[in-house]
């Protein structure tokens, strides 16, 4: 299975690791090797069976010729036990016994002296050298013929006219060998085709059989992209437990992040109250010592804030598979802002985008939009306009755009650039950490989004926040 999307982003820097062969390759390779071995063995067995059967047929033919020779040898009307005359056998109805060195031969020898009594014309005087018969009975086998080519022979020792004689017939095996070779070739071709068919079947089987794994991977990737909350557990028996375990892992991952955030919150609470006490005490008792304490308390506060923000950012990145609908979050914020700034902001317009979903944590959306809204309300002269809409960015990604405008003094281009840098505080007279816009820009960047500042048609600042949407 080719895999281009499944690799975790963390793998990228390690370059191309030596990859394990894929499951499909393993399965197909094992099937191919196994079928090849089986089919080769089958081929050998088949050819061997064919050859044995061929030899038996050969021997049956030889036997007929031996018997014909014997009957020809003994004249008609006489018995083998007491023949009056020995006649040279005729042609046995096979012209090839007459053709010189045709490969078809017969001899009749005296068993005692091994002298040739009669021989087929095809031998043209050459001897047909055969192994000596071991006792009575019929014997068959392969041996080189008079031309050096291999022949199959059959010889039988029989008493004719009171003397034991050897009747032998031999036929060249060339044709027989050619026939066996042809058969072997056909068997090889047939079995090779069968082998290909088997491997193809295994390949199909693997493809179809491993399809649920592909589905599992897609499901997991959807979770990672935040399009789904959980992995689809409707999978075959063998991998369903894997999906269940993965879901448990996702849940526990969320819990860990949630716990980390709770700890961060507790730490904040634990440190900020004493810091308040120290700072207030210092301010209540002016003097060089108090000034020093106040100054250091301020530094501590900045440090705590900075590291809390970083902890939140780090926690945020490991969260997978979360999304939230934009409108309700924004509505809550708008409601809260109009309550907090009810003296200052007369009109707080809001237009939503219905089902638009942000691909990330609700808390982070609240943090980004909250800071923008707070900033706008803080600076406005009475009117703040907030809207959300869906759009597709240059890269073709679905994004949500949250636009916050006010009719306050606004920022110059230079200030706009400075404001999204970390830790800048543009105006010390308005309360706030001064990190608001920079935090928004940082958070947006973490999500692959961006924050743009410009001038609104209302006269003040216009903040456009673009974050990934579903």
């Amino acid at each position: 299975m080719t895999d281009s999307t499944g690799a975790a982003p963390g793998d990228a820097p390690r370059g191309k690791p030596a990859r394990q062969p894929s499951l499909a390759t393993r399965l197909v390779a094992v099937a191919a090797i196994w079928s090849a071995l089986t089919l080769i063995a089958a081929a050998f067995v088949l050819v061997e069976l064919y050859r044995t059967a061929g030899e038996r047929a050969f021997d049956a033919q030889l036997d007929v010729y031996v018997k014909s020779l014997l009957s020809d040898l003994v004249a008609e009307g006489e018995t083998a036990a007491a023949p009056t005359t020995l006649e040279a056998p005729r042609m046995l109805g096979e012209p090839r016994f007459s053709l010189p060195l045709s490969g078809w031969y017969w001899t009749i020898r005296d068993a005692g002296t091994d002298a040739v009594t009669f021989a087929s014309p095809s031998l043209v005087g050459d001897p047909l050298v055969l192994p000596a018969p071991d006792g009575e009975g019929t014997q068959s086998g392969f041996t080189p013929g008079p031309t050096g080519d291999e022949v199959r022979f059959m010889q039988t020792v029989i008493e004719v006219g009171g003397e034991p004689r050897i009747i032998a017939v031999a036929i060249a095996t060339e044709d027989f060998r050619a026939e066996v070779a042809g058969f072997a070739r056909q068997v090889a071709i047939t079995l090779f085709v069968i082998g290909l068919g088997l491997v193809g079947a295994v390949f199909l089987q693997v493809r179809v059989g491993l399809r649920p794994l592909g589905r599992l991977r897609e499901s997991l990737s959807r979770v990672r992209l935040g399009e789904a909350e959980r992995i689809d557990q409707d999978l075959p028996l063998e991998i369903a437990p894997l999906a269940i375990e993965l879901n448990a892992l996702i849940t526990s991952n969320r819990e860990i992040v949630e716990r980390a955030r709770t700890h961060v919150g507790n730490l904040a609470h634990g440190l900020k109250t004493p810091l308040s006490v120290i700072a207030n005490e210092a301010r209540a008792h002016p003097g060089p010592f108090a000034d020093k304490v106040g100054e250091q308390a301020g530094i501590m506060q900045t440090q705590i804030q900075h590291h809390l923000d970083r902890a939140r950012m780090a926690a945020q990145r490991r969260v997978i598979g979360v999304s939230c609908v934009v409108d309700p979050v924004m509505e809550r914020l708008v409601r809260a802002m109009s309550k907090i700034y009810r003296d200052k902001v007369e009109t707080l317009e809001w237009s939503g985008a219905q089902a638009l979903k942000f691909r990330g944590e609700q808390q982070d959306l609240e943090e980004m939009a909250g800071n923008l809204l707070d900033n706008a309300c803080k600076w406005s002269a009475g009117t703040v306009r907030v809207s959300a809409r869906a759009l597709t960015d240059e890269g073709g990604r679905d994004m949500a755009e949250i636009r916050v405008e006010d009719d306050g003094p606004g920022l110059s281009e230079e200030e706009c650039r400075e404001a999204v840098k970390r830790g800048r505080r543009l105006d010390e007279t308005v309360p706030g950490t001064g990190l608001g816009l920079a935090i928004v820009a940082d958070l947006a960047a973490l999500y692959g989004g961006r924050l743009d500042l410009g001038r609104s048609e209302l006269g003040g600042l216009e903040a456009r926040l673009r974050i990934p949407a579903l």
Binding site: G265, A268, H269, G270, L271, K272, T273, P274, L275, S276, V277, A279, N280, E281, R283, A284, A297, Q301, R312, R332, L333, R335, A336, K339, I340, R342, D343, Q362, Q363, E366, E367, A369, G370, N371, D374, P431
Partner: protein
């Protein structure tokens, strides 16, 4: 003006209380959620400063419970949890404003002042009635442009009357809003303070309505 401060950190509680008292408020304090809830439920406060992280009963529950029971005094929440989700949760629970820790005392004072003023329906930080002018930010009173020196009780009395000018205010209501909880309440003392205030800002400013109470700025109403 009488306030309630609910904060579990004893030092911070003391600092808040002192600063608010110096700004001219009568201040009751509670060190945990249950006590704070009880006080807010039984005493008529003009505003409450409420910490979110409290022992026994957390701040948000206290606030939600007050709102459920129809207690509508303005509430300023103090929170170390400065994420917007926490702030919005506080506002949704019924808070009117929030201050994130660590804070400068001036900020709490400004927010409390705004809440009290807003609850009484005033838009400005200066309350006036005829020749009497009260600058809430500075805590200064002038009569025809001349500064008037007032004790803290006199200041509280004038401030409360100015916040609710034109309305008849009973002696009980005045007592409840001028004194801290553990103060020995004798309604005669209200009469004493009204008498002293009349001497300082003129006898006609505060009208006594027999059997009902007092009214400030009556002559301009009619």
């Amino acid at each position: 003006m009488r306030l309630l401060v609910v904060e579990d950190d004893a030092d911070l509680n003391r600092q808040l209380t002192t600063a608010l008292q110096e700004a001219g408020y009568a201040v009751d304090t509670a060190l945990d959620g249950e006590e704070g809830h009880f006080l807010g439920d039984t005493e008529p406060y003009d505003a409450v400063v409420l910490d979110i992280g409290l022992p026994k009963m957390d701040g948000l529950s206290v606030l939600e419970s007050w709102r459920r029971e129809g207690r509508s005094m303005p509430v300023l929440i103090l929170t170390a949890r400065d994420r917007w989700s926490d702030k919005v949760a506080g506002i949704d629970a019924g808070a009117d404003d929030y201050v994130a820790k660590p804070f400068h005392m001036e900020e709490v004072l400004a927010r409390v002042r705004a809440l009290v003023r807003r609850a009484a329906g005033h838009a400005s930080n200066e309350l006036t009635c005829g020749p009497v002018r009260l600058d809430l930010r500075a805590g200064r009173v002038t009569l025809d442009g001349h500064p008037v020196k007032l004790t803290s009780h006199e200041y509280r009395l004038l401030s409360y009357l100015l916040h609710h000018q034109g309305k008849v205010i009973s002696r009980t209501e005045l007592t409840e809003h001028l004194y801290e909880q553990d103060f020995d309440r004798d309604s005669n003392t209200v009469e004493v303070f009204v008498g002293r205030l009349r001497k300082k800002i003129g006898p006609d400013m505060i009208e006594t309505i027999r059997g009902l109470g007092y009214r400030l700025g009556a002559e301009r109403d009619g």
